[in-house]
Symmetry: C2
Subunit: 152 residues, 2 copies
C-alpha cells in the first residue's frame, strides 16, 4: 500500500515560506510552547466572519462599515463591530476615521492581514479540491450510520 499523500515535511514548510516570501526561522517551528499560542491564534482567526471579512478586504482594498455589512448581508452589527475590533487588535485590519458627520470609517487590511489571507490559501485550495470527496464521504456515512448518530 503506497501512500501518495504525507504530512508536511520540513522541506514543504521551507517551500511554503518561500512562496509567501517570508524568512525561515528554524527555531520557531520546534519550540513546544508555541503550539498553544498558535492554536489560540488559529482559533481566533479561522472563524466564519473573520474569514469573510478577510476575503472581502482582499478583493475591495478598503470598505466602510455599512459597505461591509451590506456585502456580507447576514451579519449583525454587533458581530461586525466585534470581529473588526478583534482583527484590529490583532493587527490584521487598519481603521481610518474621517472626522466628518455623519461618521466615515474605512477598513483595510494591513500587511499582516494580507499575509494571513495568503496563508489560508493552502486550506482554501484543499477545501476546493476535496469538496466532492468530503461530500461523498458524508453521503456514505449517512447512508450507513444514519444522521441521528451525529446529534449528541
Amino acid at each position: 500500500m503506497t501512500m501518495r499523500f504525507k504530512p508536511p515535511t520540513k522541506e514543504q514548510v521551507r517551500q511554503i515560506k518561500a512562496i509567501y516570501n517570508r524568512p525561515h526561522k528554524e527555531d520557531a517551528i520546534n519550540d513546544p510552547r508555541i503550539d498553544q499560542l498558535v492554536e489560540e491564534l488559529i482559533g481566533r482567526v479561522a472563524d466564519k466572519w473573520t474569514m469573510i471579512i478577510l476575503e472581502l478586504l482582499v478583493e475591495h482594498q478598503q470598505l466602510r462599515f455599512t459597505q461591509l455589512s451590506r456585502q456580507i448581508g447576514t451579519i449583525s452589527q454587533k458581530m461586525l463591530t466585534q470581529t473588526l475590533r478583534f482583527m484590529e487588535r490583532d493587527g490584521l485590519v487598519a481603521r481610518k476615521v474621517y472626522p466628518v458627520v455623519p461618521p466615515k470609517v474605512e477598513y483595510r487590511l494591513t500587511e499582516l492581514g494580507l499575509t494571513l489571507s495568503a496563508a489560508f490559501c493552502g486550506v482554501w485550495v484543499w477545501a476546493a479540491d476535496n469538496l466532492t470527496t468530503v461530500e461523498s464521504a458524508r453521503k456514505r456515512f449517512d447512508k450507513k450510520i444514519g444522521k441521528a448518530k451525529l446529534s449528541l
Copy 2:
C-alpha cells in the same frame, strides 16, 4: 510604499498544489458555489479539538479512544466522541473496530486527513512566524484603547 506581501496569486496557488502533490483543477477555483462550502468546511475543521486530534494522529499514526482522551487530557468523552464522529463522517479519520471485549477501537487518519494536516501547514507557519507581531499589536491596542472595548 512598497508592498512586500501580497494576496495569493494564481501562480502561488499552483505552487501550493504542487507541494501537496495534487493535480491542478483550474475550474474549481473560480466556482462561486464553492465559497460557501469551503467556508463551512473550514469552520468545521478549524476548531480546537479537531486540530488537536489531527496533530496527535499525524504524530502517532493510530490511537485508541482512551489513548486520545489521555493524550489530550482536558477533553470530555462527549466532545471526543462527537469530534471523532464528525471527522469520520467527513472522511478524515478511519475507525477500526475489533470485535473483542472489552471493546477496542483504533482511529487513524485517512489520506484525506493527512492532506488536510498538510494544508494547515501554511497557517501554522504563519501563526508561528507572526506570533510576536500579533502579540505586540495587541499590547499596542490595549494600551491605546483599553481592553474594555472588546467585550460586547
